[in-house]
């Protein structure tokens, strides 16, 4: 089929052609970026925390009228309150293990600092080294959270100490995540080396490395050190406490229900509410709610856009078919086959959509660059744009098929009728 008659006919519908190409271009630009945002969010939400997340839950509670934790005696008092809770929780049926912990991945409450291979840098006025988050727990942290130890060993019960919440002393032993260990010791020989926490002058020895453990915050400011975690064998004593609990397989809900009554029984002078006992699933849900919401919103908008554009193509082509009834009849009478008429409209659409996607690719890249300069956004991979182009052309063909087939069914006798 020659393109010449199609182009000549399109020139008669300049405005319509320009509008439909523009619509296709805008749709492509927006849908590409929307799908890219969806892809990024899905990737973010699906990254593993490094924890065995099933059968895991977290208890947060606060004691009423507890001592301040500023002096040694009150710290001992707080620690005994915590140990009593731990003993009660560990004795519950359905509980496999319990670890006291200051925070867990995705909880959005963190203690962050920096570790370095050299001691004391405080004279410069700020922490130098590699950023990390700190998890303070005991020897039960690894089995309870289901962390995967790739080198070295876990803490022993005898190595676990305790200190006040605002006490800045660093522990003498630490377990690091492998990514943090590799960053500090690029040769991969972190095990057994010493590091200094927060510009401290006292060394901490690395006795183990876990494969992966995410930081508690998911906000973008933590993206530089998402996998840098330092675990200290220290129970923190404050007027509040958190316990990570692993239930026996399949007994999560039943075990979670036992917690509040059991803790009130040990000591009623404490504050707990609906959020005090939360499964890790709930914590994950909450942490990524904004990301999921954004992905859903972008999905809805992209879907509406594609429907509107497809329907627009159907509508406009239908009109053109109706308008050209007589010409189609003439062509049929002169010997054009049905398939020729069908192809005519399909090729016409391909030309219009082709022009649209060419502009659309430029708009998509432009929009992406604009989003990159104004918001946190990365460069859109070529694959997204190419897939978008192919999808747009396919949608155009699908949308044009019904009116084009109707056109091909116009009988040659139309040529003899008045328009």
């Amino acid at each position: 089929m020659k393109l010449h008659p199609i182009l000549a006919a399109l020139r008669k519908h300049k405005a319509g052609v320009v509008l439909i190409s523009l619509q296709i271009a805008l749709t492509l630009a927006i849908v590409c970026n929307a799908v890219f945002i969806i892809g990024q969010r899905i990737q973010r939400v699906n990254r593993p925390t490094g924890l065995n997340e099933s059968n895991l839950f977290l208890v947060s509670q606060q004691w009423v009228g507890a001592p301040s934790g500023d002096d040694a005696a009150s710290i001992e008092k707080l620690d005994s309150l915590q140990l009593t809770d731990l003993a009660a929780l560990r004795a519950l049926p359905g509980v496999e293990s319990v670890a006291p912990i200051n925070s867990i991945p995705l909880l959005n409450s963190s203690w962050n600092g920096a570790v370095d291979t050299k001691p004391g840098n405080t004279n410069q006025g700020s922490f130098h080294g590699t950023r990390t988050t700190y998890y303070f727990s005991d020897e039960q942290a690894l089995p309870t959270l289901g962390l995967h130890l790739v080198a070295g060993r876990n803490f022993t019960a005898a190595e676990v100490g305790h200190q006040g919440f605002r006490d800045q002393r660093g522990p003498s032993l630490v377990i690091l995540t492998k990514p943090l260990g590799d960053k500090l010791f690029p040769k991969g020989d972190a095990l057994g080396k010493v590091i200094y926490l927060n510009g401290d002058t006292a060394p901490s020895t690395i006795i183990g490395l876990v494969e992966r453990m995410q930081v508690p915050n998911v906000a973008s400011w933590t993206s530089e050190y998402t996998w840098n975690a330092t675990i200290a064998p220290t129970r923190l004593d404050a007027n509040f406490s958190r316990y990570a609990i692993r239930s026996k397989p399949g007994q999560l809900d039943a075990t979670m229900r036992l917690i509040m009554p059991a803790l009130y029984k040990v000591n009623p002078m404490r504050v707990m509410d609906d959020n005090s006992v939360r499964s890790f699933g709930e914590i994950r849900d909450r942490a990524y709610r904004a990301d999921r919401g954004m992905a859903i919103l972008m999905g809805v908008v992209a879907l509406i856009l594609l429907c509107v554009t497809a329907a627009g193509i159907v509508g406009l082509t239908s009109f053109w078919v109706g308008q050209r009834h007589r010409q189609i009849g003439v062509r049929r009478a002169l010997g054009a086959r049905k398939i020729d008429i069908l192809h005519y409209f399909q090729i016409e659409n391909l030309l219009i959509a082709g022009a649209g996607v060419l502009i659309g690719v430029l708009l998509a890249i432009g929009l992406n660059m604009w989003l990159m300069t104004n918001y946190e956004m990365t460069r859109i991979p070529v694959m997204y744009v190419l897939t978008g182009v192919l999808a747009m052309l396919a949608i155009g063909q699908a949308a044009v098929f019904v009116p084009a087939r109707r056109a091909s069914n116009v009988p040659p006798v139309e040529a003899t009728r008045a328009a």
Partner: protein, 440 residues
């Protein structure tokens, strides 16, 4: 004449129901998507205290100096305060009203022994906090400057906590047990929950689900060792341990706000801040030149990027959707109007001026716009109601439909469709009657 055009429009729209439905749906969805995201955007970017925000200022002092700044970043000083400097500013008392504040999360023990203790959120503030922010009271009022000075055991509670502890009665004068100590209620707030939490953005991040249930005098909270529940950022390890150690450190954990009523007061306060920083430099505490900021509230909220970038991107994408829907409508109207060239030719030949053609076709576009707008209203209602399913509660709770949004939705739909109808109508009015009549 208008009713005639209306009749013509309805007749024409009925003749091609599929196409009419398509245009109405496109306008409806486009408008609804824009309005839903606008309702969220408006909720998070709104001025929380419009009548006063230009008089409220947040002083920033360069507490950490050059070493505390991001490398390659700007010269922006810290956005929160340490204890030492906040107290010095309070002592100097140079603004009309001022208050240092920090977030607390104490426990409250109900008098009824059957009830478990509850955890409440709130702030430790100075007495001027209440008049400065025009805090509304249901009963009583804030406390006095004397109460500040004496670290009095007084408390202002929310109407919600009042209801929980005392039923719906006036509890002023009664006592509330906060962290094991009795506090006398001096005031009950009248449903005050500003979003964003503009007086303490650094600790709340702007939007907070946690309700502010208690306010206690700052000095009292410090004296009782009620620790801060918000963020703490340290540039160096505090030399002493505990909450007291933090008060002696350069760690920043406090918000600070002042009211300055006119330009002269702003200039004077700026000079005061620079003078203060220079004094600290001379005293050897700061080893760098004064580097202060004094932004009014809207500028500070902008600096803190209170409006989530997701909200802005969503609004942008939704507006893009509306644009595509409009382009779609232009194309369809164009095809529809030009198909009636014969009819236009007859009308023009019978003496109808161009103006009449304009009116006729714009009426048709207007009808589509209005119908699309009504559909858009319904869909916006659905959108705003279901936004809570996908967005975090702290934000989705703020988005609501009100009369102005409803009117705006309708107006937007009609105006946008009329604009979309302009070019097709222009083309229709250019139809040459002679040519049309001949060709038929």
């Amino acid at each position: 004449m208008f009713s005639y055009y209306l009749e013509l429009a309805l007749r024409s729209l009925r003749r091609s129901p599929g196409l009419t439905a398509l245009m109405v749906l496109a306008i409806g969805f486009g408008v609804a998507a824009s309005m839903t995201s606008l309702s969220v955007f408006r909720a998070v970017s709104g001025d929380p205290i419009p009548w006063k925000s230009s008089k409220l200022f947040v002083p920033q002092i360069d507490i950490w100096g050059p070493s505390g700044r991001r490398q390659g970043g700007d010269n922006e000083p810290q956005d929160a305060m340490d204890y030492t400097d906040a107290m010095a500013l309070m002592r100097d008392h140079r603004a009309k009203y001022q208050s240092a504040m920090y977030q607390i999360s104490p426990s409250v023990v109900p008098a009824n022994a059957d009830q478990h203790p509850l955890n409440v959120g709130g702030h430790a503030v100075f007495s001027e906090f209440f008049p400065m922010l025009d805090v509304p009271f249901l009963y009583g009022s804030g406390w006095s400057a004397d109460d500040d000075a004496q670290s009095a055991a007084v408390v202002v509670i929310s109407s919600k906590l009042n209801e929980k502890l005392f039923g719906k009665t006036n509890s002023v004068g009664k006592t509330v047990n906060v962290e094991g100590h009795d506090y006398r209620v001096v005031g009950v707030l009248d449903n005050w929950n500003p979003q964003p939490r503009f007086y303490d953005v650094v600790n709340t991040g702007g939007f907070s689900e946690q309700v502010e249930d208690v306010f206690i005098p700052f000095q009292r909270a410090i004296a009782m060792g009620i620790p801060n529940d918000g963020n703490t950022n340290c540039n160096e390890t505090p030399k002493e341990s505990g909450f007291v150690g933090m008060q002696h450190s350069t760690c920043i954990w406090m918000a600070y706000m002042v009211e300055l009523d006119d330009a002269a007061a702003v200039t004077a306060y700026r000079q005061y801040l620079d003078g203060y920083a220079r004094e600290q430099q001379q005293a050897g505490r700061f080893t760098w030149a004064p580097n202060n900021r004094l932004r009014d509230l809207p500028a500070f909220l902008e600096l803190e990027q209170v409006v989530p970038s997701d909200t802005k991107v969503s609004l942008l994408v939704a507006l893009g959707l509306l644009l595509v829907c409009l382009v779609n409508t232009v194309g369809l109207l164009l095809a529809k109007f030009l198909r009636r060239s014969g009819e236009i030719g007859v009308r023009r030949a019978l003496g109808a001026p161009r103006k009449a053609i304009y009116l006729q076709f714009l009426t048709e576009a207007g009808v589509i716009g209005l119908t699309g707008g009504v559909l858009g209203l319904l869909l916006t209602g659905v959108g705003v109601a279901s936004i809570g399913l996908v967005l975090p509660k702290s934000i989705s709770d703020l988005a609501r439909l009100d009369l102005s949004l409803l009117i705006f939705t309708l107006v937007l739909a009609v105006v946008a469709t009329l604009l979309a109808g302009l070019y097709p109508t222009f083309r229709a009015s250019r139809v040459q009657p002679a040519w049309q009549l001949k060709s038929n």
